[in-house]
Symmetry: none
Subunit: 402 residues, 2 copies
C-alpha cells in the first residue's frame, strides 16, 4: 500500500491557474575556480526578482542518490510517484518520437543490427548507420512488412541504429524475453514468453520478426533487428482525474509533449523556439488550469559539459520570465526535473532548486540559486510533493479533517 500524496477527496474542481516552468537539468555543481554553480553564475535579474516574492526550496527528484531519466523526472513534477508510475523504455522511445500511445499498446525498442549468413549477430548496432540510411531501412520495413492478423503495426526511426515498434491489438503482453543477446557471435534469442498468458504475443512476435528478416535479406548492412525494452502501455490516471486539472503542454521536443500526454495533458502545438513557446503559452493561457512549459537548453548544454554555455542557456530563459509572468498564473513554479552539472556531463542525483510564486508565498532572502533555495521555506522535499503545494497555493485543496 503506497502512502497517498494527498489524503483522499481533498481535491476541489475549482481554483487558481498553475504554470510549471521546467528548466531541464537546471541544478548544477560549483565551478572549481569560483565555487559557484551554473545557476549561481548566471545573471538572472528576472528570476531573482521573482525569487524575492517566492517560497524557495530544494527538490529531491526521486529519492536521495537516485538519478532520474526524463520520464520519472517529469512524472514527479506532475505529482506522480515515479516509483509507482513506471514508464517502460519502449514506451518512452515511442513518446520520444512523438507517437501517440494508447492503453494496451505494446512498444518495443529495436536495434538495427548486422547478422551474418548463418543468422549470428555480427554487429548489434549495424555500425551505427547515419540517420538518413537508417531512416531508409525503417521506411522499407514500414511499407513492406505486413502485420500479423489482428494487430496494427507502427515502426518509427529514433536515431542512428535505434528504432521503435508499436503493436496495437487485443490482449498484448510485455513479459517476454528480449531477442537482443547483448553480445555478438551468437544468434538473436527467441522472444520467449515468461508466462503462459504471453504465448499468443510470443507467436505474433515470432511471425513479425520472420517477416522483418525476409524484407532485410537483400540489405547490405542492416540485415536484422534485435528487440528489447518491451513495454505494455497501461495508461495513467490523468491530471484531471487525480487533481481536477485540465492540463496543457508547451514543449519544443516530442519527448516532453509525450510525457505530458501520459498524464492526459493536451499539447498546445510544436513551437520551434523558446520565444515561440512562451508566445504560445500566452495564447493558450487560461483555457486550462495547469500549464507546463519546457526549456531543454540547460540540460543539453550540461550534457555537453559546457559550463559557460549552460550559464548562457539559463540567462536566455531568464530573459523570457517577464513574458511568462505576463500570462498571470496564480501559482508559478520554476524548477528542473533533475540536475545536469556540466562537471558530470550527465543527469545527476543532486537536488534541484525550486521557486513557488503565489500570493501565499513565504519569501526568504536571496536569489534563485542552489545556495538560496536550500535556506528556503520549503526545505528539501521529494519532487512528487510539488503538485500538492501548487494545488494548495491555487486554493484547490480542502482542509483535512475538522
Amino acid at each position: 500500500m503506497t502512502r497517498p500524496l494527498i489524503p483522499d477527496s481533498l481535491v476541489q474542481e475549482e481554483g487558481g491557474t498553475i504554470a510549471l516552468v521546467v528548466m531541464d537539468g537546471v541544478g548544477g555543481l560549483p565551478h572549481p575556480e569560483t565555487g559557484r554553480t551554473e545557476l549561481e553564475t548566471a545573471r538572472t535579474p528576472n528570476l531573482d526578482a521573482l525569487a524575492e516574492e517566492s517560497s524557495l526550496g530544494m527538490l529531491t527528484p526521486v529519492l536521495p542518490g537516485v538519478t532520474p531519466g526524463s520520464g520519472p523526472g517529469h512524472l514527479s513534477l506532475f505529482g506522480y510517484d515515479p516509483l509507482e508510475f513506471l514508464v517502460g523504455r519502449g514506451a518512452l522511445s515511442a513518446l520520444g518520437v512523438g507517437f501517440e500511445l494508447e492503453p494496451g499498446d505494446l512498444a518495443i525498442r529495436l536495434n538495427l543490427a548486422t547478422l551474418d549468413g548463418e543468422g549470428r549477430v555480427l554487429d548489434r548496432r549495424a555500425g551505427r548507420p547515419p540517420d538518413s540510411e537508417a531512416r531508409a531501412v525503417v521506411e522499407r520495413l514500414r511499407t513492406e512488412v505486413t502485420p500479423p492478423k489482428g494487430v496494427e503495426l507502427h515502426i518509427l526511426h529514433e536515431k542512428e541504429h535505434r528504432a521503435v515498434m508499436v503493436l496495437r491489438g487485443e490482449g498484448l503482453r510485455d513479459d517476454l524475453q528480449d531477442t537482443d543477446p547483448q553480445k555478438e557471435g551468437v544468434a538473436p534469442l527467441p522472444p520467449k514468453a515468461f508466462r503462459t498468458e504471453a504465448e499468443p504475443t510470443q507467436r505474433l512476435l515470432e511471425e513479425l520478426l520472420d517477416r522483418i528478416r525476409s524484407v532485410l535479406e537483400d540489405e547490405d548492412t542492416v540485415t536484422g533487428v534485435l528487440a528489447r525494452g518491451y513495454a505494455l502501455y497501461q495508461g495513467f490516471p490523468s491530471l484531471e482525474e487525480r487533481f481536477g486539472l485540465r492540463g496543457v503542454a508547451v514543449a519544443r521536443y516530442p519527448m516532453y509533449r509525450g510525457v505530458a500526454r501520459l498524464v492526459g495533458m493536451e499539447s498546445a502545438g510544436e513551437p520551434d523556439s523558446d520565444a515561440a513557446a512562451v508566445e504560445l503559452l500566452g495564447e493558450v493561457f487560461g483555457r486550462y488550469d495547469f500549464h507546463f512549459l519546457h526549456f531543454k537548453a540547460p540540460d543539453a548544454r550540461g550534457e555537453d559539459g559546457d559550463f559557460h554555455a549552460k550559464v548562457e542557456a539559463i540567462e536566455a530563459v531568464d530573459a523570457l520570465v517577464p513574458e511568462i509572468r505576463a500570462s498571470g498564473p496564480d501559482v508559478l513554479l520554476i524548477t528542473g526535473d533533475h540536475s545536469t552539472p556540466a562537471a558530470l556531463r550527465a543527469h545527476s542525483w543532486h537536488s534541484v532548486p525550486v521557486l513557488l510564486h503565489s500570493a501565499w508565498a513565504r519569501p526568504t532572502e536571496g536569489a534563485f540559486s542552489e545556495s538560496a533555495a536550500r535556506r528556503g521555506d520549503l526545505g528539501t522535499l521529494e519532487a512528487k510533493y510539488l503538485m500538492s503545494l501548487a494545488l494548495a497555493h491555487a486554493g484547490r485543496l480542502q482542509k483535512f479533517g475538522a
Copy 2:
C-alpha cells in the same frame, strides 16, 4: 510492501571506494554557558577543512523522535531500513560479546538471579555481581550443563548479571513467553509457546532451564536465571547482495564488528586503540569497496555526562582525519549513528550532522557542526538514505528510467 530505498537493479558492480567513519554519538546539545554543542566546542581543524569541500546535512537516525540503539543506528547507516531489518535484543547481546551468529540460531538474554528456597525470585539481578564472580558462574554453566539432544549450546557472559545463551539447531522459534516475571516475590514464568509451532522449542527450553537450575542449586547468590529477549537470527541480505559492495569493518569493540558482520562485512581485525584502527584501515584499504571505521569514545563520554571529555574525544578523532584521508576513498562519509548529548547522559533522538566528501560534493559555508550541517546541501534526511548517496557519489548507480 515497503518503498525501496533504491529502485530495483540500478546498482552496478563497479565504481569508487567508500569509507564510512562513525563517530558514535557525535551529535550533542548546547552547553548552557556557551550555547555551543560538544562538536561546536571542539577544535577540529581537520574536519572543518574537509567540510569546506563536502556536502553537509543532518541525518534522522530512524524517524523523528525515535532514539536508536547501536543496532538500528548502524543498520540505517549501512542502508538497511531499521524498521524493516529488526535485530532482536538477544541477537544484539550475542553480537556484542563477539559471538558469530548463524541464520537459524536462537539467542536469549539471561539475567543471573537469586531465587529463594521455594523458587520465587528474590533478586532479579542477583545483587549485580562483579564481573569476575558472574563469569565464574557462567563458566560453570558452560561446562556442567549438557544441552538437550539435537541442539548446540553456547552461554556467554556480558556484564554484571547479564549473560546471553545461543541455541543452534533445526526449527527453533522465538515466539515464546519470557521467563523473567519483571518483578520479585513470584516464581519465574514458564517459557510458554505463543503458537503451536513453537512448542518443540518450549519443551527444549524447559528441559534446559531445569538443567541450569540443578547446576546452580549449590550456589549462594546466583541460584537461577531469567530468560528474555528471545531472538531467532534470520540473517540479512549482505551489502554485496544489496549494493554490490564488499565491505570491511575496522572497529575496536565486538558489538560494532558484530553489527557489521550482520550485513556480511568482514572484520579487519581487533585494533586496541583508535590510532591502531586507523592504521589498520590504511592496511586493508582498497581490498574492499566499503570501509566502516568506528570510534566509540564520543558516545562513551556522552553517556558519562562529561561534556568536556566528549569534546576531547571528538578532538582526538579530528587528529586522525588526515591519516584517514590518506587512504584515498573516493567517497568519505563522517557522521554518527545517533546523538549522545552529555546533558542527557544517553543516546537521543536528535538529528546527527553528516559530511559527504567526493568530487561531486556541493559545499556550503561552515565547519563540521550541527549549525553548519543544518544549512547544508543534503538537507535533513533519514539515515537509511546515506548509502544511496554514497553509491551515487561513487558512480555505482545507474540512471532510473529514460
